[in-house]
Amino acid sequence: MSLALQTFSTVKDANSALQASGTRYLGGGTLVVRAANEGDVSVSSLVRVTEPSLSQITISGGKARIGASVTMAAIARHPELGMIAPAARAVGGPAIRNMATVGGNLFAPAPYGDFAVALLALDASVATEDGEMPIETFLAGRDTGRAVVTAVGFSLPKAETFRFLKVSRVKPKGVSVLSIAALLQRTADGAVTAARIALGCMADRPIRAKAAEKALLGCKLTPEEIAPALAVAGEGITPVTDPIASAWYRAEVLPVHLGRLLLG
């Protein structure tokens, strides 16, 4: 069996075609074409959708809706998405950013998927034909889902509340040792009232640092006050081991980089 591509103009038709075994969705190609090139013969059929809404970015009422086919480059240059542009720019080099899509990033296995880490911190919703679901639910079930992701939505964070950090050995472009995104609400005197922290490379997909989130509540962002949060940053993580770093190394440096992100 050779590889064959089917193009559909509607998501509905694509969803039907995706039910066949050996079929995968083609977004920017950075995951599935790569797998085929590398000799993954489990995929014999690719499906794509040309529906224009999948390539649209809509901003209204403080909310962003980003179509699944929108590329990292399109997000990085969008004037109203400046606060999350660093996470989009963290993905690949210029050519990859012209190809890699938001939808694809949700499926990227660690050490990839830096933008999905940002979306997890933002508590994004993930839309399919069947409706919307919280990103956390989506990520947990992404291996079995057979529906095309059509868009992600999230409330635009105020610039000072959102922080993102990608740590790589090669600069400026390199594969993640880890990535961290944090959404922090704080009182006028700087005490944290709400925290949502997402980690990349600390499992096979983005996960939350729930113990650290809890420990940050009421804290000001000083070395002394964040120390308890850093101490529990590694709770529940199962970092990946790959040519970039070992699980041991990733676990060791996680509190260091979380500290830098919180204090920076």
Partner: protein, 455 residues
């Protein structure tokens, strides 16, 4: 660029037209226009794609190989196993009488490292070859493996390579290459301080941007043209001639254009099997490593371990040096017996030491066979030696650069291999480095020269 002409003025000719002048590279116009022809830029109608079925085990006996399903797969033209290779057991350095032949082109009865080639599949498309390769069934009996050189040298360790019979290369000098100069024990007895340290390194992959590969086209007269990115053209031609039992006149090699080599393309791996495939099918064949194969299967620089014991006087003279070096060849020799031998030649360093003892071992383990890479046998040793030199200087409270001046070899000094030093320029290089790095040393060191002592 600045030429410092005060050095060696009396032994150097200055009427040079090219040295010191920028000249355009002859190959650059082809590179910048995309016209340079690399081997993979050759495309022939009806070309077959070769994919290799590789061992998933570090060490295993092959009970059976079943290629029947793969042969029936649509698009498959031929499947090759060990019995198809005329002279399946080879070693590349046999050309310079360094044997025994110890490596199989396609595994026969046993695999000795994870990634070893077992079955070659030829198909009309890359995809068909990949699909068929997945259908080849190999029944393995997994054997104990050894990955650590010192473990491999212990009695009772699993024997990695039966063609050697023991887990080290047997040189004419015995289990290791040896250098003996002066009386090293007397030197240690005389020394004010003794420092023994061990240094070790991991394998390093060259990661050329262009992966290893070749394209072979039958010429129709039982002669074959092989377009290859080998860095060792005639080595490859001669070894292919042995493996295929074909006179060299039947083989036409075209190469010299290499998309990055760094020593990683000196082994003879892809060409013989691709030529054989072209001969048996009568079709052009291309065999190109995937990126994953390049990283996991192609030879890396060997892992090394170096144990250095030095005796040093308070005045800075090194009076004794004993070095034991281990080179991890992986499962097969390739260029490693030579690499380990280079280490033996190199470990005295560019220093004049009256008492030297060196043993270097080429060790077999169930790791990926290692081979050449920029200064192999020397580079890791230099790292170890120079860290050791700084540690020695610190031990006796001496400036490390001055410590180097005291021990640097100079013309006329006898080296540990009983070769008198000539053409040394180490003193002058260090004098220039001292100025360039603004790391001053005592005036007496700036006054000496490589030309004999006491001048």
């Amino acid at each position: 660029m600045e030429l410092r002409k005060s050095y060696f003025a009396d032994v150097r000719k200055d009427g040079l037209n090219e040295i010191g002048q920028p000249r355009p590279r002859l190959d650059s116009p082809g590179h910048v226009t995309g016209k340079t022809a690399y081997f993979a830029d050759r495309n022939f109608p009806g070309m077959l794609h070769l994919k290799m079925v590789r061992s998933p085990h570090h060490h295993a006996r092959i009970r059976s190989i079943d290629t029947s399903e793969a042969e029936k797969h649509p698009g498959v033209v031929r499947v090759l196993t060990a019995k198809d290779v005329p002279h399946n057991v080879y070693t590349i350095l046999i050309l310079i009488q360094i044997g025994p032949e110890d490596e199989t082109v396609l595994a026969d009865g046993k695999v000795r490292w994870k990634g070893e080639a077992v079955v070659a599949v030829l198909a009309e498309t890359e995809r068909a070859a990949q699909e068929a390769a997945a259908k080849v069934k190999v029944d393995y009996e997994v054997l104990p493996a050894v990955f650590d050189m010192e473990e491999a040298l212990k009695p009772g360790a699993p024997i990695v390579n039966e063609y050697h019979g023991q887990n080290y290369y047997l040189y004419d000098s015995g289990e290791c290459r040896k250098v003996r100069f002066g009386d090293v024990e007397a030197g240690f007895a005389q020394a004010d301080h003794i420092l023994e340290q061990s240094y070790q390194s991991s394998p390093i992959e060259h990661a050329p941007t262009e992966t290893t590969g070749c394209v072979v086209a039958p010429e129709g007269n039982d002669r074959f043209t092989c377009y290859t990115n080998t860095q060792a053209m005639f080595f490859t031609l001669d070894n292919a001639s042995i493996i295929l039992q074909m006179p060299g006149s039947k083989l036409h090699f075209v190469g010299g254009t290499v998309g990055g080599g760094f020593g990683g393309k000196v082994d003879v791996i892809v060409e013989p099997i691709a030529i054989l495939a072209a001969k048996l099918t009568g079709r052009p064949v291309c065999f190109i490593y995937s990126r994953e194969e390049e990283m996991q299967v192609s030879s890396p620089r060997a892992a090394e371990k170096v144990v250095i014991k030095d005796g040093v006087m308070k005045d800075g003279r090194i009076v004794a040096r004993k070095v034991t070096g281990y080179t991890d060849a992986g499962a097969y020799s390739r260029h490693s017996p030579y690499g380990a031998q280079k280490g033996a030649a190199h470990y005295p360093g560019p220093y004049t030491i009256p008492n030297v003892w060196i043993d270097t071992y080429c060790v077999y383990t169930n790791r990926t066979p290692s081979s050449a890479m920029r200064g192999f046998g020397v580079t890791i040793g230099d790292f170890a030696l120079e860290v050791q030199m700084d540690k020695l200087a610190r031990l006796i409270g001496m400036d490390p650069l001055e410590f180097h001046f005291i021990n640097a070899y100079r013309d006329g000094d006898m080296k540990a291999h009983r070769q008198p030093t000539e053409g040394a320029a180490l003193i002058e290089c260090m004098q220039e480095a001292s100025r360039a790095a603004n790391w001053p040393v005592a005036e007496k060191y700036m006054a000496i020269s490589s030309y004999g002592k006491g001048e």
